[in-house]
């Protein structure tokens, strides 16, 4: 059984700052990792995914994430945030051949102060 942990419930930064949202997972085998964003009052939207190969994955709107097997992590980063990046961010894991079932972390609320 895979689990995923997002250690920060809330992160607050100023517009133009860089940000890192942390995600750690536990699973004994191969794993897929992804990030989703949820703006207020909306459904979740896919941001990016690590499947294999290059551990640094580029997503939309300047987001990127880096997979680390040694640290069991998949942290999301952005170099310069905009106020519109304020949202809840979810990390998710799934197992290959696992009927596409995702396990989500509890989410991190990102607040960007203009």
């Amino acid at each position: 059984t895979q689990t995923v942990s997002q250690s920060d419930a809330h992160v607050t930064v100023f517009e133009g700052d860089s940000v890192e949202l942390r995600c750690n997972y536990s699973y004994g085998g191969s794993i897929y990792l992804s990030w989703y964003i949820q703006h207020h009052g909306r459904g979740l939207q896919f941001l990016l995914k690590y499947y294999s190969g290059n551990p640094v994955v580029q997503g939309v709107n300047g987001f990127k994430a880096e997979f680390s097997k040694s640290d069991s992590s998949f942290h999301l980063r952005k170099a310069s945030v905009h106020w519109s990046d304020s949202a809840v961010y979810f990390c998710a894991v799934s197992a290959p051949g696992g009927n596409n079932k995702l396990t989500f972390g509890q989410g991190t609320v990102l607040s960007v102060i203009p």
Binding site: R42, L44, P96, N99, G105, Q106
Partner: protein
Amino acid sequence: EAAVTQSPRNKVTVTGGNVTLSCRQTNSHNYMYWYRQDTGHGLRLIHYSYGAGNLQIGDVPDGYKATRTTQEDFFLLLELASPSQTSLYFCASSDAGTGEDTQYFGPGTRLLVL
């Protein structure tokens, strides 16, 4: 981009009431999912399906039934609603195949059980 719609968007019922939440996706995805979202818990999988007539048990299935009538339509049934089922419900769909686990979410249904 996949289109997933949900109805109703808001629903109020009383304890013991009968509720059906509807979900439709128009991209011919094989998999469909029902989640509930509660503060402090992230998204939790209730039921999912990989095709018409199929139903798989998720992580928090108690008190819920589901039915996949067609490739497009997936319903969540609460036959004896309880206040603990007050929540925000999301439907999602995804394609089949290795690495194709990106899920596309509907806008959500907010359910209040009095």
